[in-house]
Amino acid sequence: MTDAAESRLQEIVRATLELPPDADVTEARQLGVESWDSLAHVSLMLAIEGEFGVSIDLADQIQLTSYAAIRRYLQGGALP
């Protein structure tokens, strides 16, 4: 993933989860971020689809519950 793409991903995660602009999201996990509820997750998935031009299957959406998993998914890597 390029630096620019990673920067966009971080910006999306911060915005959809309503985190401060300087928040480090690289370690963010759904269980650890209070604002990462089901509705925020839908918004996050839609934002990623739109921003990166992908269509995320339902089964994958359920597993993309951390920044790391999302990053790995966008790099074409295996999901946990």
Binding site: V42, S43, L46, E49, E51, V54, D57
Partner: protein, 543 residues
């Protein structure tokens, strides 16, 4: 518009005119919020959007619409046929008739919300029927239902099954920004209230030809030949009337003349299809204004159709609220004209009251009395026409058209007297003059439109003008020019006829009150003075 762009648009938006609306879809609408606000911000509007709770669209449709709230519906196939909802899986079996009945019921509920903006996303359907072709046909029928309601069709690709199954949001991330733009466009589109009254001209609009000149047998409004396009127009009016549009007619004619075609049975429309058939020589704007007042309807609800650009301009200037539509002069403009007209009277539902509306309003009118009504000042419009009036001396050479004009004109005719070529020849041989005038403007030539026969003793014995050029002040400019010539006319041999009210009005203006038939003297100095402004409307030439 993707997420980050939407985010930036919203965060940098300084505020603008509020755009309040209800965004209704049966799925989850919340993910649209950011994109809708961004799309509105892009248009300088501050979206104040309300959503329906998930899966409550069917209930909402059964409640009456709040007329103060703008509603935008994003409809999916399963809003018409709930069995086709992917979230319920593929049904074990379906009854097509039941599906179609439900779809029709939903369509009728939507049709009642005349002010709602509809978007339809033709998402693929689960395989509902054993025969796939029936499924495809059913999908098409739902699309047709939506289109029939005036829905805007969105691309089927906007549907994302994964997202819909997981969250209930039917639109995927790659499309949500574009769908939000369509939603905002629909919400922000001006709400044009359907018009209520269509006022139509008659000659060369409802039928082909001039009734006062050619008589009921000379006009054509049947489905053949030159009348065909007018027949098609009549058929649209008939449909609009049935749907509740109030029809009225205005014509520069005598009342008994214009009703004859309706009574002949040759037209598709009958006299009682109209709330009023107003035939007079007063300004059409004044007649329409009077009609609106008597019907107690706002002028904004009126549409006026005429083939004559001068009449259209007169009504437009005097009554800016009235929507004026020009009847086309060419067949290839007819489709667009009929489309435009039909679109001004949209009806999603036709009620019994709609069908009775004309009768109801006719009862309200107990006859229109023609008053001395004034129209708009057309000076500016006429100046813009860049008219050229060319005077021809037909005393020598070919006078066929001038003599023909004298013998076929009824309305603007000094005395209705018909003349043979031999009689004209005798007057000319005795020192008389035959003058005619051709008119041209920026739209082209109107041909030879006026003829005037003056005897050797300077009496005008024939003076006619084509009704095609009424309201352009041609007759005033001509008589003023004539009055300024050496040997100006001393007067006119006036006689009233059943048809020549327009000439009577003209003569009253140029020569003062009339006192029966006979010689009417002309005060040439006064004519020249009073009608200099009319002469100024034309580039006046002598051939």
């Amino acid at each position: 518009m993707n997420f980050l762009e939407a985010q930036r648009l919203v965060s940098t938006f300084q505020g603008g005119e509020p755009l309040a609306f209800l965004f209704a879809l049966s799925g989850t609408a919340e993910p649209f919020a950011l994109y809708v606000r961004a799309a509105a911000a892009r248009r300088g509007r501050a979206a104040d959007v309300r959503f329906l709770p998930f899966n409550t669209l069917a209930q909402a449709l059964r409640r009456d619409a709040d007329p103060t709230v703008t509603e935008v519906f994003l409809l999916m196939p399963w809003d018409f046929a709930p069995e086709a909802d992917w979230r319920s899986g593929v049904p074990e079996s379906v009854d097509q008739e039941t599906l179609e009945a439900r779809a029709a019921e939903t369509a009728s509920l939507l049709a009642r919300r005349a002010q709602a903006c509809l978007l339809y996303l033709p998402a693929p359907l689960p395989p509902l029927f054993p025969d796939p072709s029936r499924g495809a046909a059913f999908a098409r029928s739902l699309e047709s239902l939506a289109l029939g309601l005036g829905a805007r069709l969105l691309p089927a690709d906007a549907f994302a099954l994964g997202g819909y199954l997981s969250s209930g949001c039917p639109v995927g991330g790659t499309w949500i920004g574009r769908v939000a733009e369509a939603v905002v466009d629909a919400a922000a589109a001006p709400r044009a209230e359907p018009k209520k009254v269509l006022v139509t001209d008659l000659d060369n609009v409802l039928w082909s030809g001039l009734i006062a000149e050619e008589g009921p047998e000379g006009i054509a409004g049947e489905p053949s030949g030159r009348g065909y396009r007018h027949f098609v127009y009549q058929s649209l009016l008939r449909r609009l009337r049935r749907e509740g549009t109030v029809l009225a007619a205005v014509s520069r004619n005598d009342p008994d003349v214009v009703v004859a075609p309706f009574r002949s049975g040759r037209l598709l429309l009958r006299e009682d299809d109209f709330v009023a058939i107003i035939a007079s020589y007063h300004a059409k704007s004044a007649q329409i204004g009077e009609l609106a007042q008597r019907l107690n309807l706002s002028l904004d609800s009126f549409v006026f159709v005429d083939d004559n650009p001068v009449e259209v301009a007169e009504v437009s200037l005097a009554l800016p609220g009235v929507r004026c539509v020009t009847f086309p002069h060419h067949d290839d403009e007819l489709v667009a004209f009929l489309d435009e007209l039909a679109s001004l009277f949209p009806h999603r539902v036709i009620t019994a009251e709609d069908r009775e509306r004309t009768d109801m309003y006719r009862r309200r009118l107990d006859g229109m009395i023609a008053n001395d009504l004034q129209g708009a000042d057309l000076t500016r419009f006429l100046q813009d026409l860049k008219m050229t009036l060319t005077i021809h001396d037909r005393s020598r050479g070919d006078r066929t058209r001038a003599v023909q004009l004298i013998n076929k004109t009824n309305q603007f005719n000094l005395n209705g007297r018909r003349v043979t070529d031999e009689e004209v020849c005798a007057i000319l041989d005795g020192g008389g003059r035959l003058l005619s005038a051709t008119l041209a403007d920026r739209t082209g030539s109107h041909g030879e439109v006026l003829a005037c026969l003056v005897t050797a003793d300077n009496t005008i014995t024939s003076f006619v003008m084509s009704c095609r050029v009424f309201q352009r002040r041609v007759e005033y400019a001509f008589v003023s020019w004539l009055a300024a010539q050496p040997n100006p006319p001393a007067g006119l041999e006036w006689a009233s006829t059943p048809r020549n009210t327009p000439f009577q009005q003209f003569l009253h203006e140029v020569a003062g009150p009339l006192n029966g038939a006979g010689f009417v003297p002309l005060d040439v100095t006064s004519v020249v003075d009073r009608h200099a402004r009319d002469v100024g409307l034309f580039a006046l030439r002598q051939a």
